[in-house]
């Protein structure tokens, strides 16, 4: 009944390479998080630019975004299940919602903090309106956008696991199935996979990109 290390590793091996239930579940979860995360970054990035650039949008939508951000996105699942009739759409909805607001707020901040002198300089070189957004504001806010993306991934991943526990398919559902069969070794095996994915992406992928960006933008303390 109680999980053992050797049993968990064995389940991990069987699930990934023999029966393939873990491999299938992992692939499904990864597909969901990648699509959900990408959409969260795109939507959040767009909203962030909008709030950063337009005062009217910021005054009307800004506090709404802050309010939404404080709601854990999994709370939306019941409504989403009704709206999407229990389909996979509900899970995507929750994952996207989980990441969007963090992205929005960080991009907004990045845009607002662009040094005015850079915009003035660009204006003297004939840049106007949307060109200023594309050529100055967006590149200048990449470091904060990256922080936003990192958070969006973290929130999105957590939201996905929670949603899958209740919903259908993926690692979360398999975790619940394993519990229903009292297969605690499998439960632990799945938990290992979940934490490994989180670790690899958050600490290897993002921190590598972050390091590169920060040094190129001249924002690191070392070396300058």
């Amino acid at each position: 009944m109680f999980p053992s290390p050797s049993g968990s590793v064995q389940q991990l091996y069987i699930g990934l390479f023999e029966t393939g239930i873990l491999a299938t579940a992992l692939a499904e979860s990864l597909q969901r998080i990648v699509i959900g995360f990408t959409l969260a970054v795109l939507i959040g990035g767009f909203l962030g630019v909008l709030l950063g650039v337009s005062k009217i949008a910021d005054e009307t939508l800004g506090s709404l975004v802050i309010a939404l951000q404080s709601v854990p996105s999994i709370v939306w699942l019941p409504i989403a299940l009704v709206v999407f009739q229990g389909g996979a759409g509900a899970i995507y909805f929750v994952v996207i919602l989980g990441g969007t607001w963090a992205m929005t707020l960080n991009v907004r901040m990045g845009i607002k903090n662009v040094q005015p002198i850079l915009l003035r300089a660009a204006k003297t070189m004939g840049y106007k309106n949307t060109e200023l957004i594309w050529k100055v504001m967006l590149p200048a806010s990449i470091p904060s956008a990256l922080t936003g993306a990192r958070l969006a991934w973290a929130f999105g991943w957590r939201a996905l696991m929670a949603a899958e526990l209740i919903g259908r398919g993926g690692l979360g559902r398999t975790l619940m199935d394993a519990r229903d069969f009292f297969n605690m070794d499998l439960v632990v095996a799945i938990m290992i996979i979940i934490s490994c994915i989180g670790l690899i992406v958050e600490y290897f992928l993002f921190s590598k990109i972050e390091k590169k960006v920060l040094s190129r933008w001249g924002l690191t303390n070392s070396g300058s």
Partner: protein, 281 residues
């Protein structure tokens, strides 16, 4: 090379809170001849930057007009290159890309690259084409900013205390470089400075501005042969003439800012002719 004509320009900042507005200057007229090097000199807050920004199109005048050649200025444009006190380089672009940024809209990539390289060579930065701004010293950054402004081949070059934040040695070197560039390119240059010596060293004419009421106090024509020698008697004479009037203006500003605590004898010790004056000493 183009004439800059400033005609009866007024700048008033509205103050929303107290319902009272502040007029920096009004009825200010000045003509900078094609190829001329003119300095704007004056105490802090007299409106040097404001005037330069109006010419740049970054600020709108309340009334009056500014013409560069035959066109009336309404907005910023690449016919006027601007160099600020801070280099204002895009931190995510290399030195070369920063200069190309100014001309990318006008020419193809290869051409822009060639062009940018040429101007970076002019300011002696060929070795640093692929460095990022944070890897450069303050003086080098400022040279990139100058190359960037020049690469657009503007009719007029506007410089707002471009060397204000640099140390004395770097500044002296850049004075030489600016003189060389001016002689090479024959640009019309409008140059803001606090520094009397700098203005005498570089300019054909020095426009001395004052406050309350703001505006032009006096215009000096510098008739000394180039390169100018700060130790020559004529140089020193002019320096002292300007100092006499500028000192009075600075005193006015300080009295305004400090109220009755101000002691002009003590204060006069605080500034010498070669210092950056009025910088809220």
């Amino acid at each position: 090379m183009e004439r800059v004509m400033i005609t009866e320009v007024e700048k008033t900042f509205p103050n929303k809170e107290k319902n009272q507005s502040f007029t920096v200057f009004k009825d200010l007229s000045l003509t900078v001849e094609p190829g001329e090097f003119v300095s704007l000199l004056g105490p802090s807050g007299c409106g040097k930057s404001t005037l330069l920004n109006i010419v740049a199109g970054l600020d709108q005048s309340t009334s009056g007009k500014v013409k560069v050649g035959d066109t009336t200025i309404k907005e910023p444009g690449s016919d006027r290159g601007v160099v600020f006190q801070e280099a204002a380089l895009m931190p995510w672009l290399t030195v070369l890309e920063n200069v190309m940024f100014a001309i990318n809209k006008k020419m193809k990539k290869e051409e822009a690259k060639e062009h940018a390289t040429k101007y970076l060579k002019l300011v002696h930065l060929s070795k640093f084409l692929h460095s990022y701004p944070h890897e450069l010293s303050g003086g080098m950054k400022q040279r990139v900013a100058i190359a960037r402004a020049l690469s657009m081949d503007p009719k007029v070059l506007l410089m707002d205390e471009p060397f204000g934040a640099l140390d004395e040695q770097t500044r002296m070197m850049l004075h030489k470089e600016v003189q060389y560039i001016w002689e090479e390119t024959k640009k019309t240059i409008l140059f803001v400075t606090h520094n009397i010596r700098e203005s005498i060293l570089l300019s054909d004419r020095i426009v001395l501005m004052g406050t309350r009421p703001g505006g032009i106090r006096k215009i000096y024509t510098v008739d000394l042969p180039r390169p100018r020698v700060p130790a020559s008697p004529e140089f020193i004479q002019l320096e002292q003439d300007i100092m006499a009037i500028l000192g009075g203006e600075i005193e006015k500003v300080m009295k305004e800012e400090m109220g009755d605590d101000f002691n002009s004898q003590k204060a006069s010790l605080l500034y010498g002719t070669d210092r950056n004056m009025g910088n809220h000493i």
